[in-house]
């Protein structure tokens, strides 16, 4: 408890911690929202590939002495688009392509780091993330990018959803599938690029996929899944920041540990997993669908049920109301 109070006091006092909190919340929001669609479109490894190419971009930026964000964006967008192109043209299996790109960019990153004359601590902070050293300018840039991604995501949400459900059907229904796929890939790479500082290249991907995977365990509704995913993402980012500050641990790993714990709990208590394989019931007489535990309330179906039990002499039933199909099982 005192740890919490200490954390809140520090929050009021230190600007760097406030910036860290804001970026944690925003990382939590954009990563977990983008993650919902990555998960549903089954592009899980794509994110991993992009994150590694982003790291190579960072290394190049540091080597050349220019702003790493530029080279990060360049590398990640390039790799995302090339993966998308290969997948679209079905040149090779996308998993193979991602595997190749993934290792190649890692090799590039190591090459660039090896070429550096002075070993930069920035490399470590980009690889593992350090949310506590985000500067004011960096934060503003980060907020602008995040706002753009959020806006775009909500604009194309329904089309993205259609594409995750059935991409071919979406295409013949007039959804510009090709354009939206590339747009989405660019959005994923920008999200990864801007989140790199906070979480790090190795772990950023966990922040994208894990909140969405946890939310998926709880609901059958897309909007609820998005809200839950954001909630899990933001909660674990803030809680991870708290752990990172209080116990002086790397922020990336505390955030990812928190979100993984949420996933494990969600998986264990998932109502989807626990639900038996119920199918929809129908009334044996009129064939109308019934909700769970519901009985058909139509007079003719009730009458048919009563007739079935051979007590029809007690009530009069107009024969024309009876369904054509009579019950087959007798219960006397």
């Amino acid at each position: 408890m005192t740890d919490f109070l200490h954390f809140f006091n520090a929050l009021r006092k230190y600007a760097f911690l406030q910036r860290a909190l804001v970026s944690a919340v925003v990382v939590g929001i954009i990563c977990s929202l983008i993650g919902v669609f990555i998960l549903l479109r089954r592009m899980v490894f794509l994110g991993q590939g992009i994150a590694h190419s982003a790291f190579a971009g960072a290394a190049l930026g540091l080597l050349l002495g220019i702003d790493p964000l530029l080279t990060i964006l360049l590398f990640s967008v390039f790799s995302a688009i090339s993966i998308g192109y290969v997948e679209e043209k079905k040149l090779v299996e996308s998993e193979v392509m991602i595997g190749v790109i993934f290792s190649f960019f890692m090799a590039l990153a190591i090459l660039f780091i090896g070429m550096m004359e002075v070993y930069s601590t920035d490399v470590i902070s980009i690889l593992f993330g350090n949310i506590l050293i985000i500067t004011q300018e960096r934060l503003i840039l980060f907020l602008i990018f995040s706002a753009m991604i959020l806006l775009l995501l909500f604009m194309i949400k329904k089309e993205l959803f259609f594409m995750t459900f059935d991409i071919e059907l979406a295409e013949v229904s007039g959804v510009p599938v090709r354009f939206l796929t590339y747009l989405f890939l660019v959005m994923v790479s920008v999200t990864i690029s801007v989140s790199l500082r906070a979480i790090g290249a190795i772990l950023v991907f966990a922040m994208i996929i894990t909140p969405a995977a946890a939310a998926y365990q709880w609901t059958y509704h897309l909007n609820r899944m998005m809200i839950l995913s954001v909630f899990f993402g933001v909660f674990s980012a803030v809680f991870g920041l708290y752990l990172s500050y209080t116990f002086d641990l790397p922020s990336g790993s505390t955030i990812v540990s928190a979100v993984t714990a949420i996933f494990v709990i969600s998986f264990l208590f998932s109502p989807k997993r626990m639900a038996s394989k119920r199918t929809i019931q129908e009334c044996p007489y009129c064939k109308d669908y019934l909700l769970e535990g519901e009985e058909c309330q139509r007079p003719e179906c009730i009458a048919a049920g009563i007739l079935h039990r051979h007590i029809d002499h007690e009530i009069s039933i107009d024969k024309k109301h009876l369904p054509k199909k009579k019950p087959t099982k007798h219960d006397h």
Partner: protein, 259 residues
């Protein structure tokens, strides 16, 4: 002289004269890379008719439907829908009048979509890109659910429904678009006998009540004979067209299926 937007619209949206075909394929050939899937396709579909297309597996039936939908470009010949060819200007108008019901595929049991969400997808092309659905759209969505008798299950997850129920939802999705033409690709595959009846009766009812033009692709000739007003038999090209009860059809069917 400048051409106003309205004028362009008028020239595109010219109404068809009576008796003109709504779908007109002339000398169409479609290929996947070097493999020709269908060729020599000459087919007219008239308003209000229910055309059945029968053929064995890999005879190009689905390819034909996708060509009509504009998803595949012919390497030869012309495809006209409502008298228009597919172009960036006309494709939106054409697609808002055609609904396609694909062959039923297994839907992930846990997929986060309710029945109403799936039907809502049918309204997306009407609503347009970047715009959310409004209350009128939702009215149409529920009307479509009502028409297929699935309103009660609107809030159920789509993965929890049986195959036949899912097929009905897909039909509702197609109806939500308020189409004039309905294209069905093997609507009864993987359904049990009772469900086949139920789905096909529903399609027949829609055809009669809404005067929809329907094209059904199937390998089940019995079913097509019972419900269609005309049948085309195909095996990469259209080998026969005519009345469903024509005795010639039996010979043709035997030929293309046993080849």
């Amino acid at each position: 002289m400048t051409i106003t937007k309205q004028k362009v619209k008028e020239t595109i949206y010219q109404p068809l004269e009576k008796g003109e075909p709504v779908i007109c394929l002339q000398d169409v050939a479609v290929a996947y890379q070097a493999n020709v899937a269908i060729f020599d396709i000459n087919l007219d579909v008239y308003p209000g008719e229910c055309l059945g297309i029968v053929g064995p597996n890999a005879s190009g039936k689905t390819t034909l439907l996708k060509t009509i939908l504009g998803a595949l470009k012919p390497i030869q010949g012309s495809v006209q829908i409502f008298g228009d060819k597919f172009s960036p200007k006309t494709s939106h108008m054409i697609r808002s009048k055609i609904s396609y019901i694909p062959q039923l595929q297994a839907i992930d049991r846990n997929f986060p979509a309710l029945v109403e969400d799936v039907v809502a997808m049918g309204r997306y092309s009407k609503a347009g890109l970047f715009r959310p659905l409004n209350s009128e759209d939702w009215e149409k969505i529920y009307e479509a659910l009502e028409a297929v008798g699935m309103k009660k299950l609107a809030k159920r997850p789509i993965g929890h429904l049986s195959g036949g129920q899912q097929q009905k939802v897909m039909i509702a999705r197609a109806l939500a678009n308020e189409p004039e033409i309905l294209l069905l690709d093997e609507p009864t595959t993987a359904l049990d006998f009772k469900m086949v009846r139920s789905v096909v009766d529903l399609v027949k009812k829609l055809h009669e009540e809404r005067e929809l033009t329907i094209v059904i692709v199937s390998h089940d000739i019995k079913l097509l004979r019972e419900y269609c007003t005309r049948i085309a038999a195909m095996d990469k090209k259209i080998v026969w067209k005519g009345d469903p009860h024509d005795p010639d059809l039996d010979i043709i069917i035997e030929e293309i299926f046993l080849r």
